[in-house]
């Protein structure tokens, strides 16, 4: 059974059909990419998977459990984390506080135990903080832990978004254009980081990316969208040779 199973997913806004009967699956432990020209519906698919948009039809299963139509926080709690195409950090808060936010759904103490300063609550706070530091360290920005998140460089902000998503202990992580705006060096670091995510933590990765070089380098499976339809999926070398993919990209990319 695949980790993520999407079947006949449909989405529209008013008269505009954004996703037409999309079906694909993501196997555990594989690095997957989702590509397609601008406006193909990639981000919209992520928004359906994570509960921000309610699909008009079809089903989504995560680890065998149906998640279509659930609110975003429930889906995150079930093990699906994401980053946003246009970075959405809590800019006014510290880097560490941002990283700690991912732990919210993995902890439970509320207002009353905070007021009473219960020992269990103190311990949990320590654990949340430690987890935050751990993931900052993992992405390599622990030295900025106490700075304001909005003050980080662009590349570091992307890393922080990644750390925050990782801190929610997901099974599957969705990255929406993680390399956008990065320079070549930073892109290399990112490839390395994505591989480490899978190799060291076992978290499965699905990323949207326009940089074909990076996509071909890092992915083991590629899904291609065009005009809200899936036009191809498979290993990079097969997808690269697919005539429909070449057609879709002629004049837009490569």
């Amino acid at each position: 059974m695949a980790l993520l199973e999407v079947r006949d997913l449909r989405l529209s806004f008013g008269g505009l059909k954004v996703l037409h009967d999309i079906s694909f699956s993501v196997e555990k432990g594989v690095i997957n990419s989702l590509i397609g020209p601008n406006g193909a519906g990639k981000t919209s698919l992520f928004n359906c998977l994570t509960g921000f948009y309610k699909p008009k039809g079809g089903s989504i299963h995560l680890g065998g459990r149906p998640i279509a139509g659930l609110p975003p926080h429930r889906i995150t709690a079930l093990g699906l984390a994401r980053t946003f195409q246009n970075i959405r950090l809590f800019k006014e808060m510290t880097v560490l506080e941002n990283a700690m936010s991912g732990q919210h759904c993995r902890s439970r103490h509320g207002i009353v135990s905070a007021i009473l300063h219960l020992p269990a609550q103190r311990r949990e706070e320590e654990a949340i903080r430690a987890a935050g530091m751990h993931w900052l360290d993992f992405v390599g920005i622990e030295q900025h832990a106490h700075r304001r998140a909005g003050g980080l460089s662009y590349g570091d902000q992307r890393r922080l978004e990644l750390a925050r998503a990782l801190a929610s202990a997901p099974e599957l992580i969705l990255l929406d254009e993680p390399a956008a705006g990065l320079n070549e060096r930073e892109k290399l670091d990112l490839v390395h980081l994505i591989r480490r995510i899978r190799d060291e933590t076992g978290i499965t990765v699905l990323l949207i990316e326009h940089d074909m070089g990076l996509v071909m380098q890092v992915s083991e499976k590629i899904v291609v969208f065009d005009y809200g339809q899936k036009i191809a999926d498979g290993p990079p070398e097969i997808v690269r040779a697919d005539p429909r993919v070449i057609e879709a990209y002629l004049g837009t990319e490569e």
Partner: protein
């Protein structure tokens, strides 16, 4: 309820309802383009009533206290208060356009309170009489007397709203307004002067509210600095009932709310002191069961 009472409340409901509709329309239009509630809207209505009264007492010296005076007051007030709306947009909303929503809301509240506080300081909180001699001539339906004034007021509100609807749906500016309300960024890219469209929307919304203020002042015969507070609340309710952002929705919501209030408060167990509670209850029920209102469409915010 006797038939007479029904007719009487129908008339009352239509009149109040058309005031609500005028104010709700301004709310909705401004909300449409900037996606924010204009908290100052109720106080703009109040300002309209006061400006109307001032103009009325001046021109009354020459043209008398009849229709001509009221029409002058209405037009001047709509123009002046429309400009006031533009000023508020320019100095309160525009500098805050990229600020967090909470800050914009509090700033708008501040602007509203400044209008209100100014009116209180200038009037000392007194009620001012808006004495017209429009008279009570009219027609009788069974025992219910409907004055010509009442008919003209309802007709005038409907004409104003119809004019607005025509403007929004037929003219270039109306088209630009709709474009901005759908996608501000894209409109700017397509060469629409977004700032100008927003200013124009504030002008029209405020002018409508001022028109409502003058008519309500002339109809009830009195104006007061606090008259905009409850009106703002009710116009919001009307806009929610109709579907906020929708022009026909605002009209429908206003009329429905007017009728609801007229009939609701004449129920034996409700009573007029509970009228506002009744309206508020309707608002909460709508927010629970139909937050998009009767004619509104739900939009999915982009993530």
């Amino acid at each position: 309820m006797t038939l007479d009472l029904v007719i009487q409340q129908l008339v009352n409901g239509l009149i109040v309802g058309s005031f609500y509709a005028l104010i709700a329309l301004g709310y909705s239009m401004v909300f449409g383009v900037i996606k924010l509630l204009n908290f100052a809207h109720g106080d703009i209505y109040m300002s309209g009533a006061f400006v109307g009264l001032i103009v009325f007492s001046f021109v009354g010296i020459w043209v008398g206290n009849g229709w001509l005076g009221v029409v002058c007051a209405l037009l001047v007030s709509m123009l002046a208060v429309g400009l006031l709306g533009v000023v508020i947009e320019r100095f309160v909303y525009r500098p805050m356009r990229n600020a967090p929503r909470l800050s914009i809301l509090i700033t708008a509240l501040g602007a509203s309170m400044v209008l209100n506080g100014t009116a209180l300081a200038l009037t000392g909180g007194r009620h001012y009489a808006f004495n017209t001699d429009l008279g009570f001539a009219g027609v009788d339906i069974s025992t219910v007397h409907i004055t010509y004034t009442q008919m003209v007021l309802v007709a005038a509100s409907i004409a104003l709203m119809a004019g607005m609807q025509a403007f929004v749906s037929r003219t270039m500016y109306g088209k630009a307004m709709r474009a901005v309300s759908i996608d501000m960024g894209a409109s700017r890219l397509m060469g629409i002067d977004v700032d100008r469209v927003i200013a124009l929307t504030f002008f029209m919304g405020s002018a409508l509210a001022a028109g409502g203020g003058v008519m309500a002042g002339a109809y009830y015969g009195s104006v007061h600095f606090f008259m905009g507070f409850i009106m703002g609340l009710k116009a919001f309710t009307a806009a929610v009932i109709g579907g906020i952002g929708s022009v026909p929705g605002a009209m429908l919501g206003g009329l429905l709310l007017g009728l609801l209030e007229a009939f609701g408060s004449s129920l034996p167990f409700v009573g007029s002191e509970w009228r506002d509670v009744f309206v508020f209850g309707a608002l909460i029920l709508f927010l629970v069961f139909k937050p998009t209102g009767l004619l509104g469409r739900s939009v999915v915010e982009r993530v």
